[in-house]
Symmetry: C2
Subunit: 332 residues, 2 copies
């Protein structure tokens, strides 16, 4: 396949799951999609029933393909559940929702990985087939599994080291347990996937999507070379706070921040991101905290940051781009 034309400056987005997917869906309304690279967390990746599942990559891919299930925020629309129903009847582990259509993606990925393809190659193949124009890159082709140490009471799920896998925490336990520690196993050895560092270095703007800073963005920044690359682009890097009015819009970001000793506010987010990003975008609900954000060393942009619609998402993306001097629609 010839490389697509890449008109104008490029944008790199550090992306988790749903929040990032929605932001990207807005970004492609104000940018040339081929000029956007999403570097996607794969700390959530895991193997279940023999299948290699990449939850964040799939959420982003399905959303950009216009196929994301709008009711759940994960999986495919127009989905059926016969495999999972059978598995449940057989007494199998059915806590992770795998729809019949969705299984096609996991089967494809698993087979290609078994044939020796890298995750980034498989992701490119899947993206193309799903009709996604944004370039999706897993942050690494090497495993960086997020491991979560939880408080007692679920001993049957925990390994002898007291840790569980991220999806067991996030989906299996519905993140309704206290977390004592989070660790990104393999981060010291994992290499950035081909294209990741270039995408960050070449971008006119680097956006940190409104994803969970601890377990979505954290695993990617735990790769030393990725972190250093983003730090070198700090002036062009803009983070969008996933915390609005002291709570996460979705998922356990707020709770996790508290449990791990961070303030669950835009100020707490600023403290996490200040080393790598020069600018933080916060919602109007948090306008009063803008000075506190700035006192953490970040420029602060106040704008509506809740994406009810793709139009909201496009406006938020535009605001983020503008914040780092990358303003004109279609010329970001």
């Amino acid at each position: 396949m010839p490389p697509p034309e890449r008109p104008g400056p490029r944008v790199a987005v550090l992306a988790g799951g749903f929040g990032a997917a929605r932001l990207l869906d807005g970004l492609v309304r104000v940018c040339e999609p081929h000029a956007v690279t999403a570097v996607v967390n794969c700390g959530d990746d895991f193997v279940l029933h023999g299948l290699h599942i990449s939850p964040d990559l799939d959420t982003v891919m399905y959303c950009l393909a216009g196929e994301l299930n709008p009711e759940t925020g994960w999986g495919l629309r127009d989905e059926s559940w016969r495999a999972l129903e059978t598995l449940r009847q057989l007494g199998g582990k059915s806590w992770f929702g795998l729809g019949d259509r969705d299984l096609g993606t996991h089967m494809y990925r698993t087979q290609r990985l078994a044939e020796g393809a890298t995750l980034s190659v498989v992701t490119a193949e899947l993206s193309r087939r799903w009709g996604v124009e944004v370039r999706l890159l897993p942050v690494s082709d090497d495993p960086v599994p997020t491991r979560v140490t939880i408080d007692g009471g679920t001993g049957d799920r925990r390994g002898s080291d007291g840790e569980i896998g991220f999806q067991e925490y996030f989906v299996g336990l519905r993140h309704a347990v206290a977390v004592r520690a989070v660790r990104f196993a393999g981060a010291d050895r994992a290499r950035p996937a081909p294209g990741v560092l270039d995408a960050i270095v070449d971008a006119a703007a680097v956006i940190i999507a409104p994803s969970n800073p601890i377990v979505s963005i954290g695993p990617m920044l735990s790769l030393e070379r990725v972190r250093r690359a983003v730090m070198q682009r700090r002036e062009e890097t803009v983070a969008i706070s996933p915390i609005v009015a002291g709570a996460a819009l979705r998922g356990p970001a707020g709770r996790l921040m508290v449990e791990l000793g961070h303030e669950p506010s835009v100020v707490g987010v600023a403290r996490l991101y200040a080393p790598v990003a020069g600018t933080l975008v916060i919602d109007e609900a948090d306008a009063a905290l803008a000075p506190a954000v700035e006192s953490e060393g970040m420029r602060c942009i106040v704008t509506p940051a809740i994406m009810h619609t793709p139009t909201d998402a496009a406006a938020l993306a535009q605001a983020a781009l503008s914040a780092v001097g990358c303003a004109a629609p279609s010329h970001c």
Copy 2:
């Protein structure tokens, strides 16, 4: 689970896929199902899309559960194909038919094997959940993959050793290529699964089902201890010919026998089975060959051997049992 009562003498059946499944479906109409052990070929087992697939075990299990797809002779009835359709749209390998419900079985098996359960334990779990009363045992918990050396012209599928996996030959190429050799990799190291030898030793009758002698029964008899156990029960062992009137009722048995130097007739079957079985059941169409079978050193029983209905299958099973002195219905 307490062991089920096992009234009366026991029957062991060496089983491949469809032919064996139909025979077993008849056998349980004349025997106490709990007294029947099916030792099932797993030379066809393979991993595709990360999933451990056991085609013969599943065909037998689904048939005895009353769930076998009657139109295909494999897979489940009332099936849907959304995962496979998605996989095909993604450009994945879609040559092996995996229905959505069927995937539940493969996902269960794969996960349990990954957790460290043996194939025989997983098979027992699946059988129970599918409501199967016959005891199903894989011939081995160790892999015994059937490898097929085919004539040229399909170089892209062949490994550097000129071999392909059985399912690539059987399903992928629809067994429409000439076979030069068949090999059961691992047979010299594979141990019979727990219960296999006991089932053969304890049985009042050992039935070799009308399965492919080369690639369904062959892999099981390639385990030296299984072969020896059956040979020790030669007088109580009765084989049912899968060849009728010079051709296999289904599948490539006839063609394979020719290509590997055997006569594609009940006499050729007799030559293969004479060392392990004292009796061969042949169809009335082959009545004229009964003396030739007997000159190979086997008793020969002539009876209708084509199973159009479960009633036919029950009569055939009864004839096989009678042939080794295990005659009375419900008291085999």
